[in-house]
Structures are given as structure tokens and as C-alpha cells.
């Protein structure tokens, strides 16, 4: 599933060090990972890197990034990512977020749509729909979590290796970081729903059809409330999304972001901010 990652990169912000992967040429695309996706470079990212300069940082407290203890809640995360965009000198990146990363991306777009070119939300968290509650991933034993993530779980190895202590600790650290932001209200910002109308960036919401973690109703609701948003459903897929169907997710993301970039260049969105040129000179 994972391919050879590009080299580990780091940069310093005032509050600590951010780890990221970066590869590809073209317009900048900021990828905001899901809960279990820190420090991962996947076939999906490779495919995106075929058309974009893909920047995939680890969120504060996840993967190879520092704790950033002062980044306590979702509002701090939005400001953190504005700092990341500034620090890397990204000119109106495309922003693609998956699950928890999708929630961050949506909040970022609510706060600063003029700073981004397009928005792709992959089964995003962040809404509170009492009739369609998100599953409690904190209460699931690891085996149950794997089953819930995939529509077609990958074949289990014949001799499953007992995970070593460092791997368990790294996973516990990532879960702890997730819990900082997502424990209560659970995986959502109750105020987000009534703010989605403020998003002016062209938006695509993509949901897998058999998502047992974040029900598809969440994706549909996002698409309903974000002005002009498109919605795409990927069949035969669980919340693992691009881990389960990397090609489908990459294709739909790339084609949307490419056209969204072009339409903005043609003045389609009415935005008056200058755009980065399409050969990725912003890098």
C-alpha cells in the first residue's frame, strides 16, 4: 500500500517543528491527513504528485511533528495551518483533507477561502448529525477498527506479527493528539454547519459508499451547505478511502482540482487575488 516516501522534511514554526512529505510539480496542494494517516506516503499521494506539488504535513502531535501544546482546539489548528501556508510561501494552495483532515480543511476554508484555490473534502468529519452519529473510534479495539475502516478488509497476513512497543506507542501518541481535538464535542464543531455558507472556494465532497465510521450523510450535508459544491460517491469503499481505492480517489481529486484551478485563472470565481503560475514557480 505505501510506496517509497520522499525524504522526510522539517520546518520550524514558532511553536515547534513540523514534519512533512513533499513531492511533485505543479500548483501547490496541501494534503491534510486523517487520524491514522500521519507520516504516511501512499500510492494516492504519488498519483496526486503526478499533477501537483503535494505538501503533506503531520498535524501537531501526530507523526513526526512536535506537540505544539498551544494548539489545543480546531480554531488553533486553522491558525496553525495558515502559519504553515505562510511559512512555506504557498500561493493559494489547493487543500485536500481526509476525515479529521477534512474537518480542518473545511474550517480553514470558512476562515480564509481567499487563501486557497480549491477545496476537496474526503469523507470529512466536523459536523454533528445526531441521527447519523460518527462511530466512536476511541472505543474500538484495533481489530474492530480495521474491520470498520474497510469495506473489503485487506487479507490478514498468515502470521500476524505482534506490533513492537515503539509502533504501539507511536499509535497511542497519534490517538492522543486526535483526542486533544476530537474528544468532546465528538469529532465535530457544532457551529461549523451554520458557517459553511461562507466558503467561496470551489469545493468537491467525496464520500465512500460504505463508510462505517463517518456515515455518508455527513458528506452529503457538507455538499448541500457549501455554495456550489459538487458531491461524488465512490462505490464499494469504506472509510479507509484512498487506502482501499487509491486510483478512484486520486482521479476524482486531480480532475476537480485541475479544473478548479483553471476556472479561477479564467476569472470564473470572481476572485481578484493574483494566482500562482501553473508551472509551480511558487515552490
Amino acid at each position: 500500500m505505501a510506496t517509497d516516501a520522499p525524504a522526510d522534511e522539517y520546518f520550524e514554526l514558532a511553536g515547534g517543528r513540523v514534519h512533512l512529505f513533499r513531492a511533485g510539480l505543479g500548483e501547490p496542494l496541501l494534503f491534510l491527513h486523517a487520524a491514522g494517516g500521519a507520516g504516511t506516503w501512499h500510492e494516492f499521494h504519488e498519483r496526486l504528485a503526478g499533477s501537483f506539488d503535494v505538501i503533506a504535513p503531520d498535524h501537531p502531535g501526530f507523526g513526526g511533528s512536535d506537540e505544539f501544546a498551544e494548539v489545543e482546539a480546531i480554531d488553533d489548528l486553522v491558525l496553525h495551518y495558515l502559519d504553515v501556508i505562510d511559512a512555506l510561501g504557498l500561493e493559494r494552495p489547493h487543500v485536500v483533507g481526509a476525515s479529521f483532515g477534512g474537518w480542518i480543511a473545511a474550517e480553514l476554508a470558512v476562515a480564509a477561502s481567499h487563501r486557497i484555490t480549491s477545496l476537496v473534502l474526503l469523507s470529512p468529519a466536523g459536523l454533528r448529525l445526531p441521527d447519523h452519529p460518527a462511530a466512536d473510534i476511541f472505543l474500538m479495539p484495533p481489530g474492530e477498527l480495521v474491520t470498520a475502516l474497510f469495506h473489503n478488509p485487506p487479507p490478514a497476513p498468515d502470521e500476524p506479527a505482534a506490533p513492537d512497543i515503539d509502533t504501539i506507542l507511536a499509535a497511542y501518541r497519534d490517538q492522543t493528539a486526535l483526542a486533544r481535538f476530537c474528544w468532546s464535542p465528538y469529532l465535530c464543531n457544532p457551529k461549523l454547519e451554520r458557517r459553511l455558507h461562507r466558503i467561496t472556494a470551489p469545493t468537491l465532497v467525496v464520500s465512500p459508499s460504505q463508510d462505517r465510521i463517518i456515515p455518508i450523510a455527513h458528506g452529503r450535508r457538507y455538499a448541500e451547505l457549501i455554495p456550489g459544491a459538487s458531491f461524488a460517491e465512490i462505490a464499494d469503499c469504506g472509510h479507509a478511502m484512498y487506502f482501499e481505492r487509491p486510483a478512484e480517489f486520486a482521479n476524482v481529486t486531480v480532475s476537480f482540482a485541475a479544473t478548479a484551478g483553471a476556472s479561477t485563472a479564467a476569472g470564473g470565481s470572481g476572485a481578484s487575488f493574483p494566482r500562482a503560475s501553473s508551472n509551480g514557480a511558487s515552490r
Binding site: 479495539p141 512497543i165 492522543t176 483526542a179
Partner: protein, 792 residues
């Protein structure tokens, strides 16, 4: 030994398909709670607690759990209230309120204060963080668990002890008006218990506050590690815990015979460990509940889950104790030895589906036949009469249970253990011109900075001779480390012994652990009298260790309050000693010295800063607190600092040159230095000189100490004996090191040779103002004067 009866109040009527459920907690449906059966259980359980008092238990314990068949007490305070007016004598132990999951910790402070009155001062207040699943149940973020617990604890203690309104702002709680009515009955507040499950943070927390540390559900070998961790944390803070502060909590069942006991207890033990305590890892350790290091410790442990332990395994490992009275007494006695002792036994006598008759009979048999056997255990070897409640049980000589190391022995063992670290620190300190910060941390951890701080401020003072031993051994390892330790202890001692109460509280109660103070008492500035204090101005030098200090001590001349009437007469001025926070001064990095380079003895300047009266005292005033050690008077109180340091350096130089002498020859293949008669003579003489200096100094200190311990301030003759012995010791050491240095030839000139550092450091020490030759002059004058006074 104190004995408590702990009731878990389980709901034992579980359905046949219970094994289908992941746990008895959180998600186990409450439709399985039958209100009629539950109602009868509550009243029966309270009867069992009251019965325990009647048969002689010292304490009755309840606890808090939510949404669970494991225990039916979501509010332990309600249970304590139900017991308060129906019991007379036993302690009512709430073990404990889950302050980590409380929205409003003040409610706990209020309820315990009320319970204190309802029970007429019998309540014990345990605090817990709340079990993992309760963070799911109450929607409290487990990543904030420890912070919430710590803040809630601090707030509750402050609310109990403040006698005026205050505001509380901390990251997790904000209260603009804290004004607790009622105030608790017990002073300063009800005793605090902390049930621990092995995290080092909890052990240190408990030791810092001198709370009772209580074990929960673990095999004996693991509980031993926890108790040792608590004892070690206390040792690092410089004290030996009262055994009653260490509590073993364990399920116990007693019947007339072993056979009957196992037959009756087995279903309950199995219920507890396979059903009541059945919780998956995700529920017990939600993310952030454990720190990374505690999680690592847990993962590396060799403990099996309860479900994999048979009934016999559980007993053999020490998870529970079952048997006849004789068997139970003997097993608990055995555990006492395996655990290194404890002073409180909290027995869980109601853990599962036992009948009322079984529970009460087990309780009665334990009280009448086991308690008397174990009662004499767990008492401190030489507990001070009347020392019922803390302040800390620290004496200036041996204290603690028989067989435990003395404070001095533990410190010397620590120095030995860290010898290599200190030696390495020495060369690095030379480059940094101050002691490296991790070595400072090591010294902190050993409690070395508070060996002259009064116990009532949290210090653990050593007798002056023991202090000499420690400084000497530190200096043997490295002089910068020893100097830092010595000055730190001395300055803290001055602040601790002499500052008025309000000032001492600011300096010593504000900082955890205790603060480090730097400075010296040569008056080098002025203080202009203003309302409530002084405006201080001046520049002071030789503030050793200033880089890692948080407070500074210095002395100033007061400005005369009126002009001198006659220029020839001295103006109306006094020398006042002051203490101020380091960040109110300017540190001047000017320590470039020919010796003691690694001690960071920099200058500091104070630019017209207000110092309140409570942070000052008049030089020469008697100490305010601290007992015998502070009765030594000046300069005896500070005279056990530089001399033992120089003795340590001299001893080290002796050993180094001895070693070197076996390796040094004038020419290849020639005789070694060690074969030269002249060198041998010098070496033998040097050893005698150092020993003589050491003995003379200690003899003078011991005489002064005897006087102080008898309740008197050593008179001038004894002070003179101390000062002349000090000067003599330091001079002798400087001469010895210098003489021996010569024999090292060219080799010892290299900056990588330790001998040159011993020489430079001992010479620098001799320059210290407290080792002036003027003390000899004073001694000579006294001798002449006393000869004149003698009759005939």
C-alpha cells in the same frame, strides 16, 4: 498498623450471557440493574460498613465509580454522609473523589468540608483521576486528565486552607470568587490519600505532598516496586516516609478453616477479577490518559491480564488473600516483608457475590484474630511522641524504620552512584563557567540544596558533621559540583532560617520542588527606607550558582535616616540582608576566574528595586525558625562549607598523585616517582596533614554542635575554635595540593590534567572572605586577653 474495611458495593447479579459484553462498565446496560435488589444491597452494604466499626476496624472506606456493576457508588460522599452520624470512632475514608472528571472541583472541597463536620473530624479525603471509562461516560477529555487532576487538587487544598476570598485562574478552571463555607474541621485539612497504579508521576506527587500512597490490584512484586518508588521519591526530597503513609489495599476473605474460606471466597474472587474488573484496554487507557513513558512502562511489564490468571495464580501472586485466620495472618505477614513494610492495611472484604452472613463473619474473624497479630507492625522505629500528623517526620540523625538507610548514608550512596557524572561535569563546567544544568538537576533530585533548610519549610537538614561528609565526598568527585551544592545549601539555609514567615512562605512555598538561592552577605549596596520596605540598589559579586537560582540573597547598608551630627561619628546605618526574585536583578556574566571557574560565581546588579520588609532581616539577628542547626550561630552555621570541600579536593589530589607516581619516570625504564624516597616522605606527610586538618575542623564543629543541641548558642570561644580550625584546614589543604602538584612535573601542567584544576580550585577557595587570616589574629588577641584576665 492501621486496618481499614473497604467496601466496593458491587452489583453481583449478572446475566448468564454476561460474557457477550466487553465489560461490566460504561456500555453494560443498566436494564440489568434491578431496583428492588439494588435497593436491598445498598442498605445491607451500609450495615456491613457500620458493623466493621463495631468489631474494631480503624477506618471504613468507600469509593467512586460510574455506570458500572463493579461498584454502585457514583457518589462516595453520599455514602460517607450516610455513615457519618451512625458511626462514632472509625475514620470515614473516601477513596476517592474522582476530581479529574469533575466539572466543578469546588463541589468536592465543599462536600468533604461538610463531611468533616458531620463526622466530627474523621473524614479522610482520597483523590483519584477517575478510571478510563469514566472519561467516556462523562465526556471529559482524557488528554487533560492529569492537568485537571493537578489543578483541581491544588484548588481544593487552597480552598480548604485559605481564610480569605481568592480568585483561581488555571488552564482548566476559572473561579473569580473562592470563599469556602464551611471551612474544614481538621487542620490544616483532612488527610489526603492517593490510590496509585504505578505511574511515577503519582508517586512523586504523593511524596512531594506527603500524602498516603495506596496500592490497587497488583501482584506483590509489582506493589513492591510502587512502594519503593514512593520511598525513593521521598528520599530524593530528603525524608523517610512515615510507614502509615504507605497503604496496601487488597481483597481479603477469612473463614474458620482454609477449606471453607476457599470454598466461599472463590466465587467472589473470580467475580471480581473476571467480571467486575473486566474492561478492555480502550476503556481503561483512553488516549492521553497515560503519558508516553507510563505507557511504555505498562507495555514492558510482564503482567498477564486477569482473565489469564487462575484462582490459584491470583492468590499466589498476591492479588488476594484467602484462608483461615492463621493463614491470612501469616500470608499478610509474609507480604509485609516482601513489600519492605507498610503501615496501613486496607482490606477489601466485600468484592462480589458473598452473602451478608459470609461477609460479616469474615469481617469479624479478621478483626478478632488477625488484627491483633499484625497490629504491632508498620510503626516507625523511633516515632517522636506527639508527632501524630505531619509536619514531615525528619530528624537530624537517623530516622525511619529499623534497617532503612540513614539520610546521610543515602546521600553518600547517591554521590557514589553519580561519581562519574560529577567528574564529567567538572570539565564541562570549566568551559561553561557554571555547572551544567543536568548536573544541577541531579543535585536537586538528591535534595542537596535543602540540607540546611528548616524542616517546616520542606527542607531536610543534616547535622553539621554529616553535611561535612557529603560536601567532602562531592568535592572528592568534583569541586564545581561540590561548590554549587554547598553554596546552594548555605544560601537557602540563610533565607530559610532568618526570613520572616511571610517572606519564607513566598520563597519556599511558591516553588516545587524547593528553590535554589544564590548570593552572599558582603554588603555592597544601599537600601533606602520606604513604606513597607526598601528601595535597593547595588552590585554584588560571587553569587555562585546564579545561573540556576530562582532567588538571590545579598546585603545592603541602610541609608542614614538623618544626617550624622558629627562627621567623625558613624552614621545611623545597619546592614540588612535581603532576598529577591532573580528576575528582578540583572545578572552580569563576568565570571572569568583563575580557579573555581565552573561555579558560575557571577555578579548581579539591582537597580532601585522595592524589597518588602518580609523579604529582609537585620544581619546579626537571631534565626526565626529551624531548631538546633540554626542555633549554631554565626559564623559556625556557615563554617562547614568551604573546609570540607577543600579536604575533599586534597584527598583527591593525594589519590591522583599516588596513581600518577606509579606511572611517572624521569626517563623511559627509569625508576618511577613512587620509588623516590623524597616523594614517599612528602606523600606520607601530606596524608597526615590532611587528616589532622580534617579532624581539627570536625572537632571544633562537633563541640559547637553539642552546645547548640543542648539548647545554647555556642559562645565566642567555640566560634573562634571553629573559624581558626576552618582557616587552618583550608590553608593546609592548599599547601598540600601545591606541594604534591610539584611532583607531577610537566604532565600536570596540561589543562587536561585534573591536578592543575585541584590546585587552582583549592587556591581560589582559600581566597574566600570567610577564610581570612584575620581569624588567627582574633584568636591570638583572645588568647592574650584571657591570659591578662586570669588571676595571678
Amino acid at each position: 498498623m492501621k486496618f481499614s474495611f473497604f467496601h466496593l458495593m458491587p452489583y453481583p447479579y449478572l446475566p448468564d450471557n454476561f460474557d457477550d459484553y466487553p465489560s461490566s462498565s460504561l456500555t453494560f446496560p443498566n436494564r440489568y440493574f434491578d431496583p428492588e435488589l439494588g435497593n436491598r444491597l445498598y442498605h445491607r452494604y451500609l450495615d456491613e460498613l457500620e458493623y466493621a466499626e463495631r468489631v474494631g476496624f480503624d477506618g471504613l472506606a468507600v469509593n467512586e465509580h460510574h455506570q458500572s456493576a463493579y461498584g454502585l457508588m457514583p457518589s462516595p460522599n453520599i455514602m460517607a454522609a450516610a455513615l457519618a452520624r451512625r458511626t462514632e470512632r472509625a475514620r470515614i475514608m473516601v477513596l476517592g473523589n474522582a476530581i479529574g472528571i469533575r466539572g466543578n472541583p469546588l463541589r468536592v472541597a465543599e462536600e468533604i468540608a461538610m463531611l468533616d463536620h458531620l463526622s466530627n473530624g474523621r473524614v479522610d479525603s482520597g483523590f483519584v483521576r477517575g478510571i478510563g471509562w469514566e472519561y467516556f461516560g462523562h465526556s471529559i477529555n482524557p488528554t487533560r486528565s492529569r492537568a485537571r487532576f493537578n489543578e483541581a487538587h491544588d484548588l481544593i487544598i487552597k480552598a480548604w486552607t485559605a481564610d480569605e476570598l481568592f480568585q483561581w485562574i488555571s488552564p482548566n478552571y476559572e473561579y473569580r470568587y473562592v470563599n469556602l463555607w464551611p471551612r474544614p474541621l481538621q487542620q490544616p485539612h483532612p488527610p489526603v490519600y492517593i490510590p496509585g497504579a504505578g505511574s511515577t508521576e503519582t508517586m512523586k506527587f504523593c511524596a512531594e505532598h506527603r500524602y498516603t500512597y495506596m496500592s490497587v490490584y497488583a501482584p506483590t512484586r509489582v506493589v513492591r516496586r510502587w512502594f519503593d518508588g514512593y520511598r525513593e521519591a521521598a528520599a530524593h526530597l530528603g525524608y523517610v516516609p512515615d510507614p502509615a503513609k504507605i497503604a496496601l489495599s487488597i481483597p481479603i476473605y477469612v473463614a474458620e478453616t482454609d477449606e471453607r474460606a476457599h470454598r466461599e471466597a472463590r466465587p467472589a474472587v473470580e467475580w471480581l477479577f473476571y467480571r467486575g474488573l473486566k474492561q478492555p484496554m480502550e476503556m481503561i487507557n483512553p488516549p492521553g490518559y497515560m503519558s508516553q513513558s507510563s505507557m511504555r512502562g505498562l507495555l514492558m511489564t510482564d503482567r498477564k491480564p486477569f482473565s489469564q490468571l487462575s484462582y490459584d495464580d491470583l492468590l499466589a501472586d498476591g492479588y488476594a488473600v484467602v484462608g483461615s485466620p492463621a493463614t491470612v495472618a501469616s500470608r499478610l505477614r509474609e507480604m509485609y516483608d516482601e513489600l519492605g513494610g507498610y503501615g496501613r492495611l486496607i482490606g477489601l472484604f466485600a468484592i462480589g457475590p458473598n452473602t451478608h452472613e459470609q461477609t460479616t463473619r469474615s469481617t469479624e474473624l479478621f478483626a478478632s484474630e488477625v488484627i491483633p497479630v499484625l497490629r504491632p507492625l508498620g510503626v516507625a522505629a523511633d516515632a517522636e511522641p506527639g508527632a501524630a500528623v505531619s509536619p514531615p517526620n525528619v530528624a537530624l540523625s537517623d530516622a525511619g524504620p529499623a534497617g532503612a538507610a540513614t539520610h546521610r548514608e543515602r546521600l553518600l550512596a547517591d554521590v557514589d552512584r553519580h561519581r562519574e557524572e560529577f567528574e564529567a561535569a567538572g570539565s564541562l563546567a570549566e568551559q561553561l563557567r557554571t555547572l551544567p544544568s543536568d548536573t544541577v538537576e541531579t543535585l536537586r533530585g538528591m535534595g542537596v540544596f535543602w540540607l540546611k533548610t528548616p524542616p517546616e519549610l520542606g527542607g531536610a537538614p543534616l547535622s553539621p558533621i554529616d553535611f561535612c561528609d557529603v560536601i567532602e565526598e562531592l568535592a572528592y568527585a568534583d569541586s564545581s559540583t561540590a561548590w554549587t551544592a554547598m553554596i546552594g545549601a548555605g544560601c537557602c539555609g540563610l533565607a530559610g532560617g532568618w526570613l520572616p514567615d511571610a517572606g519564607a512562605r513566598r520563597v519556599f512555598a511558591g516553588d516545587r520542588p524547593l528553590p535554589v538561592v544564590a548570593g552572599q552577605l558582603q554588603p555592597r549596596g544601599t537600601g533606602q527606607r520606604v513604606e513597607g520596605g526598601y528601595l535597593v540598589q547595588g552590585r554584588w559579586s560571587f553569587a555562585s550558582g546564579i545561573m540556576h537560582a530562582s532567588w538571590l540573597i545579598g546585603a545592603f547598608w541602610t541609608e542614614p535616616t538623618q544626617p550624622a551630627p558629627d562627621p567623625a561619628q558613624p552614621a545611623d546605618r545597619r546592614i540588612v540582608v535581603f532576598v529577591l526574585p532573580k528576575d528582578e536583578a540583572e545578572v552580569i556574566d563576568n565570571w572569568h576566574a583563575a580557579g573555581l571557574q565552573g561555579t558560575g560565581s557571577m555578579d548581579f546588579r539591582v537597580h532601585g528595586v522595592f524589597v518588602p520588609d518580609e523579604m529582609t532581616y537585620d544581619l546579626g539577628a537571631p534565626p526565626v525558625r529551624g531548631g538546633d542547626l540554626f542555633r549554631l550561630g554565626m559564623p559556625a552555621f556557615v563554617s562547614n562549607e568551604v573546609p570540607p570541600l577543600c579536604i575533599g579536593i586534597a584527598r583527591r589530589a593525594l589519590d591522583e598523585i599516588t596513581k600518577l607516581a606509579g606511572q611517572t619516570t624521569r626517563w623511559p625504564g627509569g625508576p618511577t616517582l613512587s620509588e623516590r624516597g623524597v616523594f614517599r616522605k612528602e606523600l606520607g606527610r601530606a596524608e597526615a596533614r590532611v587528616k589532622a586538618a580534617r579532624l581539627l575542623h570536625r572537632d571544633a564543629m562537633a563541640a559547637a554542635w553539642d552546645t547548640a543541641r543542648a539548647g545554647n548558642v555556642p559562645p565566642p570561644a567555640q566560634q573562634t575554635a571553629v573559624t581558626t580550625a576552618s582557616v587552618f584546614a583550608v590553608e593546609t589543604c592548599a599547601d598540600v595540593v601545591s606541594d604534591l602538584f610539584r611532583y607531577g612535573g610537566g604532565r600536570v601542567l596540561s589543562l587536561s590534567s585534573p591536578m592543575q584544576r585541584y590546585l587552582r580550585d583549592v587556591l581560589a577557595a582559600r581566597q574566600h572572605v570567610a577564610l581570612t587570616e584575620e581569624f588567627y589574629e582574633a584568636a591570638g588577641r583572645e588568647r592574650i586577653e584571657s591570659a591578662h584576665r586570669a588571676p595571678g
